[in-house]
Amino acid sequence: MSGGFNEIHPEPTTFISKYIISFDHKVIAKQFLWYGILFLGIGGIMALLIRWTLAYPGVPFPILGPLLFPDSAGVVPPDTYAMLFTMHGTIMIFYAITPILIGAFGNYCIPLMIGARDMAFPMLNMLSFWFAAASALVVLISLCTPLGSAAGGWTSYPTLSTMIGSPGSGQTLWCLAIFLLGISSTMGAVNYVTTVITLRAPGMGYFDMPLTVWGLWLTAILNAIFVPVLGAGVMLLMMDRVMGTTFFLAGASATAGTGDPVLFQHVFWIFGHPEVYILILPAWGIVSDLLSFFSRKPAFGAKATALSMTAVSILSTLVYGHHMFTTQMSPLLTQSFMTLTMTISIPSAIFFANWLGTIWKGSIRFDSPMLFSLGVVFVFGLGGLTGLHLGTVTTDLYLHDTYFVVGHFHYTMAASVLLGGYAGIYFWFPKMFGRMMNETLAKIHFWGTMIPLNGIFFGMLMVGYGGMHRRIYNPFVYESLQRLIPINMMITWSAILMGAFQIIFVWNFLMSLKKGPKASNNPWEVGTLEWTIPSPPVHHNYDVIPVVKCGPHEFGNPNLKNGRDFQYQTEELVRG
């Protein structure tokens, strides 16, 4: 039912109700955006610390090193190294990408793109942000505990993550933080699912929704179903650590009857595999829309794209076992999981082909959002292809836990989502803040990100294929790996270069916020609903709830006579 009208909370009057405890989805989106960008910086510096150690083991980290590690003269100590890759992964996934893609774009785009005045439950939305903020606080505190934060990997497998593997409160606080964040994500998911179902503008069927909304909606559904699974896992892990239960302890550490460390792996990946799709689906949606917007062509097979994204979401619930081929599963199971994993290629290939079909013979405008979207097509393609090697049991037995895996998941989830996130930021910045970003700096930022990024992650694929394991402090104690030192140095310098180019982004973002030229209502000449209203939108978004009459990608219609090459969704489709 698309009622279209929703009551709006009154316009806030005080600073606190306007910017802090805000009920307004646009403000909450910006809160999540700042939150995510802040953690992207922290996670990025951690990545550099890891990379430095791998290229120059035993050499002090320049500038920051002596400040952070005075006891070891600036060299990253081994135990800190474990903490760094753990917290880098955790922060990037849960505190950088999730808030930017789901928190910021979800909140900003869903109501605006479906023609609603706010989310279905504005108060729940506010709570969702503050739970996320509380969770972030716990993570930051955990970094300051005497034995440091969690160091058992972002996957937190027992026994690394039990009291035996990780004494100290860091890992316990990690569990608590993830649990709080899970509550926040579930609250958000309840809101997004309900909003999309009930608040679409009159006339907007599901297939009239922009694909961005499709991606965010599917993400919310997966979140509501699978985040509680991780919640249960970390809850039991926390009890093992605090209360003395033995769910994940086996052998001598469990006094009577025995727990099962591998059970945690199952629980983690039942959540974890959908989680990687939770991260990528919003980016897929954004890219599917932007490719059409900047090719000035209707999205090729938009319905098929939406349906294949749905198919991927469903299949993603059935394949988690491919993360556990080396845990002595029965071959019957490994082969079933392998087959299911391979079937995901079919819907993925469909929407990937649709992307190419969309840009094929388009009048492409190479604005920064488009550059980043094309970047996603490239890196996601590479990431997807390398997934086949890891989904195949026979090759995975060799590649498991090598840098090949690290390269693969960075291509699919880190690089694609990062570039997709940048595409979204450059695209919606004018709507969010009412000003344009500097296009030249944006293009420099794109190339300065894209080229080193491939140096980093392709390099990772190479050293992984060469046999270098992940999560090792100094791989070069193994003589056979010493020949990989030059490639590792290339990766590290690429990372430093890429990091440096992010400064341009931050500069551009901050300067445009203050001094950017004023944005018109529709700087990109796009027909979706949010571009029919002023930039930035007023408090209640739409004075009159729009009535939707056509799809989101009506470009290049030869019957259009008004000098535009696109139609607004509020306009009747022009026919010959």
Binding site: F226, A232, T245, A256, G257, T258, G259, D260, V267
Partner: protein, 183 residues
């Protein structure tokens, strides 16, 4: 008004889906522990007495029955009866918590502590986690009791949603009772 009710209804459905996955994960864990051990209870342990858990089961199921009545009363604008049924649900829910605490003391008295291995881990942790949710359920009943007034035209959906959540807690307990204690 219809659309607002639909929203609340959907939101509660999604929420319960999430909670179901949470408890399903716990039960999956139990199924794996149990099916992978040669003896259950593990060597050196014996089954716990069914008396108190049976009383708990009786209390929470009965409370669900009274809770079930509330929305009919609201529909019929019989707010006196609605309040009576709500209070009975609350009292029974509270007694369930009391019964659970007796159960925990009984476990302790029999020498079974939280850290006595996987058998005890499951008995304690699962009942604790469930009880924490029952507390949340009781809070939502209290909320309903505060909100209960004839002038509120969204009374019915509130009653329906709180009822759904309460039945859900009863269902989870019933499943735990049958699998953890009886079987």
């Amino acid at each position: 008004m219809k659309r607002l009710d639909l929203q609340s209804n959907l939101a509660m459905t999604v929420t319960i889906t999430g909670f179901s996955m949470f408890f399903a994960t716990l039960m999956m864990g139990y199924a794996i522990y149990r099916s992978s051990s040669t003896f259950w209870p593990p060597m050196g342990f014996s089954k716990v007495s069914l008396t108190i858990p049976s009383i708990s089961t009786f209390l929470i199921l009965l409370s669900s029955w009274f809770c079930y009545q509330i929305k009919g009363n609201v529909k019929a604008h019989d707010f006196k009866k609605a309040r009576l049924n709500l209070n009975l649900t609350l009292v029974l829910g509270f007694s369930f918590m009391v019964a659970q605490s007796f159960f925990w003391s009984e476990l302790k008295a029999s020498g079974l502590y939280v850290d006595s291995g996987i058998f005890a881990s499951i008995l304690y942790a699962y009942t604790w986690i469930h009880a924490a949710h029952v507390l949340a359920g009781i809070l939502s009943l209290v909320y309903l009791s505060i909100m209960l007034k004839p002038s509120d035209d969204r009374m019915l959906i509130k009653a329906v949603n709180v009822e759904k959540f309460w039945h859900f807690l009863g269902a989870v307990w019933l499943m735990m009772f049958l699998t953890l204690f009886v079987y």
